[in-house]
Amino acid sequence: MAGSQRRIAKELAEITKDTPEGVTANLVDESDVYRWSILMEGPEDSPYAGGQFKLLLTLPVDYPFKPPALKFETKIYHPNVTNDDKGAMCLGILKSEEWKPSSKISAVLRTARSLLAEPNPDDAVETSIAEQFKNDRKEFERVAKEWVTRYASKRA
């Protein structure tokens, strides 16, 4: 086992070469491969379209044996993202029961973006947003769009 650096470098190279749709990934700091800065475009046909979300991906020292952590730095109105300064996203693949050492960061980013396109209200962290998503989709989309304009517009 050559330590996690080698594996991380390879994944970073792969992502740069074959970027998942709507996502760009860079190291926060060139000398630290454990912290990735992610820019994610809101998927078309979703209330997040036109928004750009900044995320921080942190890799544990024991990576890839332990899952990475993903955090929204841009505020987002979404049933599966905590509406606090943690901005934690509830993603199955990020849980230690589901994460496998051969799982890839690109898969994490793809899953995260598909959750933007299709929220999963049954596995929500923000129950009131999930309720609204289920029962009053119009109002949910209105608020989500409003938040995009307020927090996630590209110019900001």
Binding site: A2, F65, K100, P101, S102
Partner: protein, 518 residues
């Protein structure tokens, strides 16, 4: 019983072959009136025939097992089922764990669709590949990206191959840090194949193997409804009891682990006889949350009619001025003070309907609070006294030693002190819970009998408790008296518990809440 349990277990194994086929109603007399949909999974002989004393209505049958018994029993089941399915032991173990040890369902399912069953348990893609590491030309480990020639690699039957070092690291992390055992999957992304014991044997260091087997035993007990770990700290025993979840409103299955800990098999809390689990849960929640604070507030305070601040009246005068919004109002009718006209300080709106409604609601709330406090104070008092008695219990040993030297009594002859303090502990525990029980009882004749029994036990306990405060020099002379009082306490406890249990079993108690919704 502790010393014999293993022997009994062993003799059960050798003499009776299919001992798990024993009929449940043999071992759990209570279960007779409830239909059973699955056969009991008995460990072995019950000591029912050995003990001569007839069972009390509140007692249940149970057995205590050590880690080795559990391991043996697991192995035996694996052998049996493996022979039927024609699968090697390591695969059978995985299948049984996957089926949560319901072997009838497993065998049935396997006979109908063997491939499905194997696939679901993570054993798909059959094909005999021996468990060994190998070197593969041009191999790159997908986990660490190492591509050095001659790298040792390993894969299970699913073919997801990684370098042996990554495989090892993965397994040890799952076992050591995540406490996983029976359901560790292949490290391949999306592969649900379960890591079998052969792979574990091959790749994991010896010290971790022990931990692995310990965890496997743990999941075995966790998976079985009729087995529970003793909740006492560091206790290694598991208890088997046939009482089912649905029976818990009719019986309080209290068991005694070989470590000496009494607990309820239903909820694993400390012995809470005679109160059924559902009421215990309700009571503890009631005592814990601040619903009673809210009750106090509604009994003792009112809200300012203007700004709704909560106000506690701290003087006799009914002319209230809200500290917050400076609203002046009458405490009795809650009307604006200036409208009281000439009848200041003597509210003449006292009989107004709205005012009397408010007072009724307040009186009711106060009454309910007082009722709760009545039971709670007694409950808490016995809890507290039990703690104090426990302190005395800890000093008992010293007392016993002193008594031996001062009176010339032998160790055996001073055992009565130990017996007495244990009886005291147990009776206080029971008394404590009688108050939670009584809180939920609706008033009728049975309740009166219950309260008489409660009173008798309480008097017996206090009489005995008092004797413990006597100086050591007097204890020798009190021996006979103390032994009498101890046995009287135990007798009163048995009477109370038997009566309560009989009525519970027959569904005779009337509660002031719906016990089934708890």
């Amino acid at each position: 019983m502790s010393a014999d349990s293993e022997d009994e277990f062993m003799s059960g194994m050798s003499s009776e072959g299919g001992f798990e086929d024993g009929n449940e109603s043999d071992s759990v007399s209570f279960g007779e009136e409830f239909e059973d949909d699955e056969p009991a999974l008995d460990f072995g002989l019950h000591d029912k025939d050995i003990t001569s004393a007839p069972k009390k209505p509140y007692e249940v049958d149970f057995d205590v097992f050590g880690p080795r018994d559990i391991q043996k029993y697991q192995d035996k089941q694996i052998d049996e089922v493996g022979a039927i399915l024609g699968q090697p032991p390591e695969s059978t173990a995985i299948l049984l764990r996957h089926a949560r040890w319901n072997k009838e369902r497993l065998i049935e399912g396997y006979m109908d669709h063997p491939e499905d069953v194997l696939e679901k348990a993570g054993l798909g893609l059959a094909g005999a590949v021996p468990a060994k590491t190998m070197v593969v030309d041009g191999f790159v480990c997908d986990i660490c990206c190492e591509d050095e020639p001659g790298l040792e690699t390993y894969a299970m039957k699913c073919g997801h191959r990684y370098c042996a070092e990554c495989y090892r690291h993965y397994l040890s992390q799952k076992i050591r840090e995540e406490g996983e055992a029976a359901r560790i999957q292949c490290p391949g992304d999306g592969c649900s194949r379960i890591v079998d014991s052969k792979t574990l044997e091959l790749l994991v260091e010896d010290d971790l193997k022990d931990r692995y087997h310990e965890l496997l035993t743990r999941t075995y007990v966790d998976d079985k409804d009729n087995l529970k770990w003793c909740p006492a700290p560091n206790c290694i025993y598991a208890v088997e009891c046939g009482v089912k979840k649905r029976d818990l409103n009719r019986i309080v299955p209290t068991v005694r682990c070989d470590c000496g800990h009494y607990f309820c098999f239903g909820c694993t809390l400390n012995d809470h006889l005679p109160t059924p689990c559902a009421l215990v849960k309700m009571w503890l929640k009631k005592c814990e949350d601040d619903s009673e604070t809210a009750n106090w507030i509604s009994a003792n305070t009112k809200e300012c009619p203007r700004c709704n601040s909560t106000i506690e009246k701290n003087g006799g005068c009914n002319h209230m001025t809200c500290r917050k919004c400076k609203n002046e109002f009458c405490w009795i009718c809650m009307g604006v003070w200036s409208e009281h006209g000439t009848s200041w300080y003597n509210c003449n709106r006292y009989e107004e309907k709205s005012g009397s409604d408010a007072r009724d609601a307040q009186a009711k709330s106060r009454q309910s609070l007082e009722r709760y406090l009545h039971y709670y104070n007694r409950y808490a008092n016995h809890e507290q006294s039990a703690k104090l008695d426990k302190d005395i219990y800890l000093k008992t040993e010293k007392k016993m030693t002193n008594l031996q030297s001062s009176s010339g009594m032998s160790w055996i002859e001073v055992q009565f002190l130990d017996t007495a303090s244990q009886a005291l502990q147990q009776c206080r525990q029971t008394l404590k819970w009688t108050y939670a029980f009584a809180y939920y009882l609706a008033r009728n004749n049975l309740t009166e009998i219950f309260e008489d029994n409660q009173k008798d036990l309480e008097m017996a306990v206090e009489n005995l408790s008092e004797m413990f405060e006597k100086p050591t020099s007097e204890l020798a002379a009190l021996k006979v008296d103390m032994m009498d009082k101890t046995s009287y306490c135990n007798k009163r406890r048995i009477i109370l518990l038997s009566d309560t249990a009989e009525n519970l079993k027959n569904g005779s108690w009337k509660f002031n809440i719906d016990i089934n919704t708890a």
